[in-house]
Symmetry: C2
Subunit: 490 residues, 2 copies
């Protein structure tokens, strides 16, 4: 039996056909990994909390629009679905294999796939170079097959890829949710914690274009991905975590080219000798000197961040908001103390406080004296004029219109009973706010209210943060790219 | 009418009486601010979303065990509660006044309070030195009254204090929740974002001993608070945010003394000239040179952190867990990539990876080869042995018992349908885990599951984090204190 998971969205199919045509123009072609028309899940398909059956369920939940086949020689069917004894027995073309077996079985399966004409394989199976000598030998064996037969390999030891535009997902863990928002951030990492099983993507409304976990990267690596994403029309920003780079010159050359088209954010752990030792046993990486990496990244125009959460959180602002034209930050706050914390971070990231015009300050003064200046503190105005929303409205209008402000940080307070739509509408209805990037810091006494505001903002393309420093870093990273771009293009 | 909010908990009253006796031993006596037997709320009591009526409601919700009086000359009662025209008309003794009026009215009211014999006043009202020249003049006026009449002042422009042990709270914002867990962390700041209106304390199960917002600190300051907390038996750790220190020598002298008894964590923004300018208009502070501050803090044995969230998040580990005896960290992870990120942070904070004994590694190997070593990666073991809990159990036992490990970071995965009790029981049932501090990093695809694990852990005194770096910083801060203490006492 052939499982067909095509969705009703005809748009999906159109995009799908359109994207397939890019195969001709891509330098390093990973189309088969992100836009396969059919996949075969090869290996364990019985456990309900890990493995092939979970992948099948995830594909169904995300509405994968291609064909899915199961392969396992041990049984002829599972849950009424036909299981083929070998990938070679599948009567139709298979674009992508997902292999989740013991490591020992993988070389034989990769060979079968190559013979069948499968273009790429995601090797979810672990127990390769990250494990021991025998694993390293097995890894070399599949690399040799890959080179000889032309089949491309992702992993091993990977959760693979996600493409919310086609519903493709290869993670073998249950998600507990059913959708990932189609968006513009490509997340890539040399670890599975970038995956759909690691973040509540549905609740976050985080807009994804592609997710890719390289892990052991025996074949497909970060540079291949950059080349693929360079021309991926859904991707506006690339956020990448790497533990090592094996062909540094090629990476830098390609990155320099890609950065002219879209920003690349990068996080590389391994600063200390202790973490370098751990890297070696994680993915078999040899980390090299962190300072050399950092200098090379800077030279290539990459934006460097300091933690995985920073990578994740700064990237989304690029996916939602326009770039700032300059570095002059405007802060609308309801607490003076927090604004000061934000300023330290802003300056570290190259931003400065915009100096409001005389006219702007006069308009703010009309509402309440504490609102004058930048940061504009609307906190005392709210009780003073008995209105929690009007001060926001004026401040947003003033900052949006003032030519001395390039980007804005606004604080939304999650007070009990607040209607999140109020906040979103404030932003939507302020015309000037569309041309300057806005980030939001949310704080307040209730997780529930705060989460509601967060969701509503993110769904409307306003990046929201529970850490004020992170909110500012996002603007700082965007400003860095404004500078990088102007240097590279001029 | 006198509103009496005594709760049924007789323990509360016993503690209350016991604590009052400390008045004789405290060097700088803030007892009246944290343990008043009666309070008068003076000023606006009509608005339902800000002001005196909200304070009344908050006191009721938190079960304040003293008497509460309302004062306002404009009306004789509100919601059936008598409103006195002046504090002087209240027939009983008033320990603490909470003043929330226009700034102009404050000097007169402070004078009335002093005449009535009120010992302290929390000045929630704003519009003082943080506003303008006239405000600065008014502030000086109340300082003069305070000095002359002996009444102590907190603020102005403050959300004041919280003491969950007596149910005292002075914040004029609605909270939307009804309890703050009694615990051992004293939070203090020169801003209101430390307050009960700013964090979902109830949901977090964050154990608080006292909260104090100095804001303009026209009288009561950080050093006074340190002296009070030095002998406060509920406080095990002091987490303090300051924008400036006006009597640096006294602060350092007192801090040095207090640090011998309990750790002090400190966060001071104002690193940049831009933030220093903003400081001046926030609380009228003159920030001074950050490097001089940092050197003085180091010399006094304070533990310095880099952000407000870091202050908040590292402090709780001290409130829950024992101090580590040394700096050797053990990491139990389910993702190799995340462990590497943790190591970089650990080394920055003075920790190193403990080298497991031969016996420990043998025990880990019996479960699964990837578990050998530190970090111990139990991720691949779970599907391999078809059991998500057994690898945790063995790893926790091994790390707890191994003499080469002083503190532990463990990762809990919030997979769909997980029972949070499983995780808490794992920790509780591992005898060795009681003598070494443990912090937990939680990650997974569902906020709901993750939050459930978080709550269950925190309620059982295991500090939980959604950022792996923050989890490690908490252990690093604890190790710093182990070192500080041994230097100071030896």
């Amino acid at each position: 039996m052939v499982r067909n998971m095509k969705t009703d969205e005809s748009n999906n199919n159109e995009n799908f056909v359109k994207n397939r045509s890019k195969i001709l123009t891509n330098r390093s072609d990973l189309t088969t990994f992100f836009e396969p028309r059919s996949v075969a899940i090869i290996g364990a398909v019985k456990s309900v909390w890990f493995g092939g059956l979970v992948i099948l369920e995830n594909l169904k939940n995300l509405g994968y629009n291609g064909k899915v086949y199961l392969v396992n020689p041990s049984y002829p069917e599972v849950n009424g679905i036909k299981v083929y004894p070998s990938v070679k027995e599948i009567p139709d073309k298979v674009d992508l294999a997902i292999i989740i077996t013991s490591s020992k079985a993988v070389p034989r399966i990769v060979k079968d796939c190559a013979e069948k004409g499968v273009e790429g394989a995601v090797i979810v199976a672990d127990g390769f170079a990250e494990r021991d000598q025998e694993g390293a030998r097995l890894q070399q064996e599949i690399v040799d097959i890959s080179k000889k037969r032309g089949i491309r390999l992702l992993g091993p030891n990977t959760i693979g890829v996600v493409n919310p535009y086609s519903g493709l997902i290869t993670t073998p863990y249950p998600l507990g949710y059913k959708s990932i928002r189609k968006g513009h951030v490509a997340l890539a990492a040399q670890t599975g914690i970038i995956g759909a099983q690691a973040f509540p993507f549905e609740e976050l409304h985080y807009g994804i274009s592609k997710i890719c976990d390289f892990s052991n990267k025996c074949d497909v690596n970060e540079t291949d991905l950059l080349e693929y994403l360079e021309d991926d029309s859904e991707t506006k920003v690339i956020a990448i975590h790497i533990e090592d780079i094996r062909d540094g010159l090629r990476f830098i050359r390609v990155a320099k080219r890609v950065v002219k088209k879209k920003p690349i954010l990068i996080y590389k752990p391994g600063k200390t000798s202790e973490s370098k030792k751990a890297l070696a046993s994680h993915t078999g990486s040899i980390a090299g000197d962190q300072k050399i990496y950092e200098a090379a990244f800077r030279q290539a125009g990459l934006i460097q961040v300091d933690s995985f959460l920073e990578l994740f959180q700064t990237a989304k602002a690029f996916g939602y908001q326009p770039l700032p034209k300059g570095n002059r930050l405007g802060i609308i706050t309801i607490t003076g103390g927090a604004a000061i914390m934000a300023i330290d971070t802003a300056v570290e990231w190259g931003l400065e406080l915009g100096k409001l015009s005389q006219e702007s300050n006069e308009r703010l003064f009309e509402i309440h004296p504490t609102m004058v200046g930048n940061p504009s503190d609307i906190g005392p105005a709210m009780p003073a004029i008995q209105d929690p929303i009007a001060p926001y409205k004026t401040a947003l209008e003033v900052f949006s219109e003032d030519k001395n402000v390039d980007c804005m940080l606004i604080t939304f307070y999650a007070f009990p009973g607040v209607n999140p739509e109020l906040y979103v509408n404030l932003l939507k209805e302020t015309a000037g706010a569309k041309e300057k990037p806005v980030v939001v810091w949310i704080y307040g006494p209730s997780n529930e209210e705060a989460n509601k505001i967060y969701s509503t903002l993110e769904a409307a393309d306003y990046p929201a943060y529970f850490s004020i420093e992170m909110a500012v870093k996002a603007l700082g990273a965007m400003y860095q790219y404004t500078q990088i771009k102007s240097k590279l293009i001029n």
